[in-house]
């Protein structure tokens, strides 16, 4: 690991100012991904600004019936929170399906959203990687790509975003609040992460020094029946091959509203708007679910080793929504 200075921020504005003045500085939250990447020499900050003392660790109800989650809340505390478990079970479930308790105890909500891809080549500084070193090429396209993208990839990068939490938040239409050198702004979760295009080095739209301070969840009454299903190579403690976060509102046999997001398939959590649009207004039948899932995956392009993900994603969408609709889960 390379030497670095360490400073503890006193307040959010102070943290932002420290980063704004240091182009190679990074925020330190739980550190579970960043410290690992520093050991691997992938991340090379010259200054760590510890923000655990300045980002909120509280979860509170908002006047509109939504919920605000402080960016400093640990993943474990988020999953155990009674309000979250009751109103947005998909979020609690997504969190506990990721990592281990030891990691979730350290990891923060803000840091979870900003963790980097686990593409093997990104983490191996001896190999070319456009995300790590722009212009060097993508080793994964002709290498080990079984875990990587089937949707929205580019000739420069086929990485996937590893977060489970982000998939659930995208399905719930969450918004992140940030504070940057130019002030605060709100970014819909669906627009926080980006597709790789020709600039895979940028995972998201945040600028250097922009700090996530909170995640706001809008009121969504039917999310009390929501579910996160994660398919992986082992029963626990593994990243998703494919995951789905879903909620469905059925009245008089018809779909009044539905939320679907996929994980493990793209450079960002993939909101399945095409499938949602096809499902609204009609009955919940296996046939209609199959058609909606097929439409969502119509543009999917497999890598050399992951064609299995396309039917897998379709099946997981269909099964999860059928279970939710029939309450048979």
């Amino acid at each position: 690991m390379r030497p670095f200075r360490y400073e503890r921020a006193i307040d959010p504005a102070g943290a932002v100012a420290l980063l704004a003045g240091s182009p190679r500085a990074a925020y330190l939250g739980g550190g579970t991904n960043l410290v690992d990447l520093m050991k691997l020499d992938v991340a090379r900050p010259d200054l760590l600004v510890d923000i655990r003392g300045v980002t909120s660790r509280s979860i509170e109800e908002l006047p509109d019936g939504g919920v605000r989650v402080g960016a400093g809340v640990s993943n474990s505390d988020l999953a155990a929170d009674p309000l979250i478990r009751r109103r947005y079970p998909v979020i609690a479930q997504a969190v506990v399906s990721g990592a281990s308790t030891q990691l979730r105890n350290l990891a923060t909500v803000g840091g979870n959203l900003l963790q980097r891809t686990r593409c093997l080549y990104f983490q191996d500084v001896t190999t070319p990687c456009n995300k790590r070193e722009p212009g060097t090429g993508c080793s994964a396209i002709e290498g080990h790509n079984r875990d990587l993208a089937i949707l929205g990839a580019s000739p420069d990068c086929v990485a996937t975003h590893p977060s489970d939490l982000a998939v659930a938040l995208v399905a719930m239409d969450a918004t992140v609040q940030t504070l940057g050198p130019d002030g605060g702004r709100r970014i819909p979760l669906t627009e926080l992460h980006r597709l790789p295009g020709a600039e895979p080095q940028a995972d998201n739209v945040l600028t250097h020094g922009e700090l996530i301070t909170a995640v706001d969840l809008p009121p969504l009454p039917f999310a009390t029946r929501s579910w996160y299903r994660k398919v992986r190579d082992r029963a626990s403690y593994a990243f998703a091959l494919v995951s789905v976060a879903a909620a469905i509102d059925v009245a008089d046999g018809l779909v009044r509203d539905v939320r679907i997001a996929l994980g493990g398939v793209a450079h960002k959590p993939w909101r399945a708007t095409r499938a949602e649009d096809l499902l609204r207004g009609g009955p919940v039948t296996e046939e209609r679910l199959r058609r909606a899932a097929a439409a969502e995956l119509a543009d999917a392009r497999p890598q050399s080793d992951n064609a299995f993900k396309i039917p897998l994603a379709r099946h997981v969408v269909v099964r999860t929504l059928l279970d939710l609709a029939s309450d048979a889960r």
Partner: protein
């Protein structure tokens, strides 16, 4: 870059000067001579370095000592206060280890896991049975083999002594 930190380890306070790069694991092992937490993968994947930090289990290999100045740490060695901890006793009774390298991490994790389950904190298995208990979980969260396997999944055992760890932990949960 050197910095001063204070760590309370197994009930004893230590003041030491560490490089900012020093992990909690290296501070414990290399500076304080507490070799109970083990360095397995050093990347947060195996759980051999698990300690309680301010009451919660964490991978000490990914925690920077400087970021946890003032922290209260309990290692597997510190669990034995008045004779062996019940989980340590159960591991011996059930022959729940072979080479023993992962064992201190497994034991700390098991102790924390039992407390988490008792507090109603959920695992993925818990979500199969939502209820009216603490945190919206089942009223009496059953610490059954499925819950134990899920909650212990952050601790790997290269000898695969899992088969005896599960009943060891279950015995303590039921006592």
């Amino acid at each position: 870059m050197d910095t001063e930190v204070t760590l309370r380890v197994d009930g004893v306070e230590h003041q030491l000067t560490v490089d900012t790069r020093t992990t909690l694991l290296d501070a414990l092992r290399e500076r304080l001579g507490n070799t109970s937490p083990k360095k397995g993968c050093d990347h947060g994947q195996c759980g051999a370095c698990t300690v309680l930090l301010d009451g919660q289990r964490v991978n000490s290999c990914l925690a920077l000592a400087v970021a946890h100045d003032g922290g209260e740490i309990v290692t597997a060695a510190g669990l034995a206060t008045d004779g062996l901890h019940p989980v340590q006793r159960a591991f011996i009774d059930h022959d729940a280890f072979q080479c023993g390298y992962c064992t201190p991490g497994q034991i700390v994790s098991a102790v924390a896991m039992l407390a988490e389950a008792a507090a109603g904190r959920p695992s993925t298995v818990t979500f199969d049975t939502p209820g009216d208990g603490p945190n919206g979980g089942p009223v009496d969260l059953a610490v059954d083999p499925d819950e134990i396997r899920e909650r212990m999944s952050g601790n790997l055992c290269r000898c695969a002594a899992y088969a005896n760890m599960v009943p060891a932990i279950q015995e303590v949960a039921g006592s």
